[in-house]
């Protein structure tokens, strides 16, 4: 176990280093579009990381996490529309709104288990989706184009794609380290225990619900942060951000990368979005190839990509 943690630290360092060098490589290769794609990858990596916290460690398969991407994205759109353009304010609003939505929906969803939990999280996300579809002040179904990206200290530094990219990377690294700390803490141990055997946890004196709900709230708030970055990357916000396909894609990213080790979620998001970019160039039927790959990874390595690197467990 200690060895696995050490391996993860090395792999994380290498992965983040590669991300840090990417804009330089993109500049050298004369392909600035790469930085924009990679910013999108980073935003989804944050969301997948947040999902892995509850899915991998808490055993809670949320099929509605796209709702939080939308909540984060609309935080940017709504505040910017009201003249508040500061990134800090956007992030704070997204975190609060995401946490509240998670608290409300989690408190209800967590009274169910298994397939019912999956369906209820999906239902809540659909409710959020249709709420924003009906929000005509923000374009309804069509969404709304942002006049500009968020500002920092009143300056429009994020207009530079590379600054936005590094901001997203800093958020990803920071949130990754936060998740590493959380999963290794007292709280993380209880959360993992409730995934393994909730009755056992009750029999030593824990009430699983409290810990699961807290993790759900943390995850929702983190995913909303991803939504803020996604809105800035696209300069555009629409209900499509919270479409249920998107929720499914987030689950796929986590499974593809390997559930329950945090880094896998980041790798999974990266690979899924790169494949989407590359395969879409090859053929319109790229989801067929992607689906086949996903099946192969899941069949041959229960731990996803991370399992392929680590070799089989136990």
């Amino acid at each position: 176990m200690i060895r696995a943690l050490r391996q993860r630290r090395v792999a994380a360092t290498l992965l983040f280093l590669a991300f840090a060098l990417l804009p330089i490589i993109a500049a050298a290769a004369g392909d600035p579009y790469l930085v924009i794609v990679a910013t999108r990858i980073l935003a989804f990596a944050i969301a997948a990381l947040a999902l892995d916290l509850i899915l991998g460690y808490g055993g809670m398969v949320s099929f509605g996490h796209a709702a939080y991407l939308g909540i984060g994205a609309y935080s940017v759109a709504i505040l910017s529309g009201a003249g508040v353009t500061d990134l800090g304010a956007h992030l704070a609003a997204a975190v609060v709104a995401g946490a509240l939505f998670a608290l409300l929906t989690g408190a209800i969803s967590l009274r169910t288990r298994g397939i019912y939990f999956i369906m209820i999280t999906l239902a809540f996300a659909q409710m959020a989706y249709f709420f924003f579809v009906s929000l005509s002040a923000y374009g309804g179904d069509d969404g709304v184009t942002l006049a500009a990206r968020s500002t920092v200290l009143g300056r429009d530094w994020l207009r530079d794609d590379r600054v936005l990219y590094y901001t997203a990377l800093a958020l990803l690294v920071g949130l990754y380290l936060l998740c590493v700390a959380i999963t290794g803490s007292r709280f993380g141990r209880v959360l993992t225990g409730t995934r393994e055997n909730p009755v056992r946890m009750e029999a030593v004196g824990f009430t699983p619900f409290r810990y699961q709900l807290t993790a759900f709230v943390i995850s929702g708030a983190m995913t909303a942060v991803a939504g803020v970055m996604l809105a800035n990357q696209a300069s555009y916000v629409s209900p499509a951000f919270m479409n249920w396909h998107r929720s499914g894609e987030l689950v796929v990213m986590v499974v593809l990368g390997g559930i329950g080790n945090l880094l896998g979620a980041i790798a999974g998001a990266t690979l899924a979005l790169l494949l989407e970019e590359w395969l879409a160039v090859l053929t319109d039927h790229w989801p067929l190839i992607f689906g086949t790959l996903l099946i192969l990874v899941v069949m041959f390595s229960r731990d996803g990509l991370t399992g392929l690197f680590r070799g089989r467990r136990g």
Partner: protein, 246 residues
Amino acid sequence: MSLLSVRGLRKSYGALKVTDDLDLEVAEGELHAIIGPNGAGKSTLIAQLSGQARSDGGSVRFAGAEMMGKPMPARVRAGMSRSFQITSILPAFTVLDNVAVAVQARDGSSFRFLRSVAREARLNEQAMQALAQVGLQDRADLRAGSLSHGEKRALELAIALATRPRLLLLDEPLAGTSGAEAERLVEVMAALKGRVTLVLIEHDMDAVFALADRISVLVYGRIVATGTPDQVRADPKVRAAYLGDG
């Protein structure tokens, strides 16, 4: 003075009365065994006492406080712990962490998010003590799922002990163990006697009669006799209902 006082406890599954107006007194410090034929309602009784299963009525007083309506975690924190007939551990955790998480449950808040729990020496030390009590100290770093059946039974006991109970409800701790494994677990229970109040459900009659201070006989959801092992052995009602006059 009774540590545990059960009055008129009831539970039905449909028309079947599994626990039928049951009274039970367990004195502080005793090892109180509950025996009875299959289907007498022994495991249901443990589930009701521990708060895992809801009771239809009656009273469960522990150390003077009413426990009815309180969920299992609250009862554990009050000092009533249980072990399970079917081993209930955290298979992906190490043996040490299985016990350390039980220590953690009674030692400070677990809403701590940043500090590494693996480095909390106090938790690990107390967990090691509980493991040493059941003879598993050499297995501390193994994955709990990889233990032998007998070792898992011992771990189950160590987890319950780590909650520092005043009353320990043991649901067939010897279930499925072989001769040598069972012997070791009986030794562990003998060592616990007097330090923890024990309610023991067990099918192994040799173990029961060797360990128990008092025995209650449960038949169709009612206690039909309570007494010392000798009294129970001699009780004609018991012989008729359970020991089959053998």
